[in-house]
């Protein structure tokens, strides 16, 4: 699984950080920071949920 983010669309809800803190963080303005673009398989479910519920559709998953 490969993760992409589109920070200019981020609305700083922090939902992704709550669900998958190993993969996502927020900068001082609250904008998403991607910590790990190739998360380990055990994080797959959390990353999938984060992508699904992001309120600005910022997170895109690319499945190989």
């Amino acid at each position: 699984m490969h993760v992409e983010v589109d920070p200019p669309k981020c609305v700083t809800s922090g939902q992704c950080v709550m669900i998958a803190p190993e993969v996502f963080d927020q900068d001082d303005e609250g904008i998403v920071r991607l910590l790990d673009a190739e998360p380990a398989p055990e994080l797959r479910e959390a990353v999938t949920e984060a992508a699904a519920i992001c309120p600005a559709a910022v997170i895109r998953l690319v499945h190989e």
Binding site: V11, T12, S13, Q26, A52, P55
Partner: protein, 406 residues
């Protein structure tokens, strides 16, 4: 108990954030049957919060609101029915009838038909009277804003306040009329509402609170102003009606589903066996707060679409839908973020920053518990522990005295 057969066909009615997320979740969770996604608009699923922000200001082209890339939607292998609405549900025969006459049989149904703007009882067809819910609405209003134009906004909720802020930034003169004493009082309380009132006035908005609009003045079929309860008038080239919304449930009347300002659901977002509701249209029991709620936030649409799809596929492993609601609003250079359940709060207190500086965190109590916070221009790491406390059902007394790790 006999296990229910896995559904072969799921119909999702509503193709905005909740419906799309539900459809996507069904596929991600391994559902390989037919997914029919019905959308009343002709556009591919798009996002609504930018409509009163980036789309209205012109800083985003409309395409940027697309919720997914067209290829990603194609990969979901949907039976996509756009530009048509559902007109009837037969929950016994398990069929949905569409406006174009199609009758679709389902095993599972997700209702995500959202809300539509409330309107004033008068002059709705006059040219220059706007609502703001769809992309087409936003583009029509955007084309009317600019220097020298006069906009009257009826209703200072989040939508009206955001539109007023954008219109000012484009140079329009703006009158914002609200029956409550301060903007957003119902949602955020008087303290935070007063701060928002100041901000709008500083930016040149003619804010008239404590007064209702009683009529739209028209001339040859075109809106030219509004009349207020006290007899005063406000001249306008355009009028935006932003007085809240109503759930799109008419098509479900007579279906046997319980309707009460939304589709009534249990804590799993289920309205009946195999029938779920998600997003703005769903009124469900949120066990975290112990109350029925219907939430018109973008975040909830996705979260509930996700939860409803999972529970539909695996009812025997259903998880209660118990989110901490979240919304945000951008007005001028201010960002407001709110976590939790704000209606009917009993008390509020500034727990960090201060109102004067317009950098603050206000906590809200309902009963014995911390139930919500609102932050203006605060660092996310300050907000985070409060959100965790709301999710953990922390008592008010310990929440407001807790030492916080910043």
């Amino acid at each position: 108990m006999t296990a229910r057969a896995a559904p072969r066909g799921v119909v999702v009615v509503g193709a905005s954030a909740a419906g799309l997320t539900a459809a996507e979740t069904l596929r991600r969770e391994g559902f390989s049957g037919t997914i029919t996604l019905v959308g009343g608009e002709v556009h591919l699923p798009y996002d609504r919060p930018p409509l009163s922000k980036q789309v209205l200001s012109g800083s985003w082209p409309p395409e940027r609101t697309g919720l997914r890339q067209p290829g990603d939607i194609g990969a979901l292998r949907l039976d996509l029915r756009l530009g048509t609405t559902a007109t009837a549900l037969d929950a016994t025969a398990r069929t949905v009838t569409l406006a174009d006459g199609a009758v679709i049989v389902y095993d599972g149904l997700i209702i995500a038909t959202g809300v539509r703007p409330r309107r004033l009882p008068m002059a709705n067809s006059a040219t220059g009277v706007h609502v703001l819910r769809t992309l087409d609405d936003a583009l029509a209003l955007r084309d009317r804003l600019g220097a020298g134009r006069r906009l009257v906004v009826v209703g200072a909720g989040f939508l009206g306040a955001e539109a007023a802020a954008v219109a000012r930034s484009l140079g329009a003169s703006v009158t914002l009329i609200e029956p409550a004493p301060v903007p957003l009082e119902h949602a955020v309380g008087a303290q935070v509402g007063a701060v928002l009132a100041e901000i709008h006035r500083e930016h040149g908005v003619n804010l008239r609170t404590g007064t209702a609009v009683t009529g739209i003045i028209t001339d040859a079929g075109r809106a030219v102003g509004v009349r207020q309860a006290d007899g005063t008038e406000a001249a306008a080239d355009d009028v935006l009606i932003a007085i809240g919304s109503q759930a799109n449930t008419e098509w479900l009347e007579g279906s046997g589903l319980k309707l009460a300002d939304g589709v009534v659901c249990d804590q799993y977002s289920a309205a009946a066996p195999g029938v779920y509701a998600a997003g703005d249209v769903a009124r469900w029991h949120n066990p975290l707060f112990g109350t029925m709620m219907r939430i018109e936030h973008r975040t909830n649409a996705a979260e509930q679409g996700f939860a409803a799809a999972r529970n539909l596929l695996r009812p025997e492993q259903a998880r209660p839908f118990a989110p901490v609601p979240y919304f945000w609003s951008d007005q001028y250079d201010v960002k407001i973020q709110a976590y939790g359940y704000l209606p009917d709060h009993d008390e509020s207190a500034v727990v960090d920053g201060d109102l004067e500086a317009r950098r603050f965190l206000v906590a809200y109590r309902r009963g014995d518990f911390l139930t919500a916070v609102i932050a203006m221009s605060m660092h996310p790491k300050v907000i985070h522990p409060w959100r965790v406390m709301i999710a953990n059902r922390v008592r008010w007394s310990s929440a407001v005295s807790a030492p916080l790790s910043a």
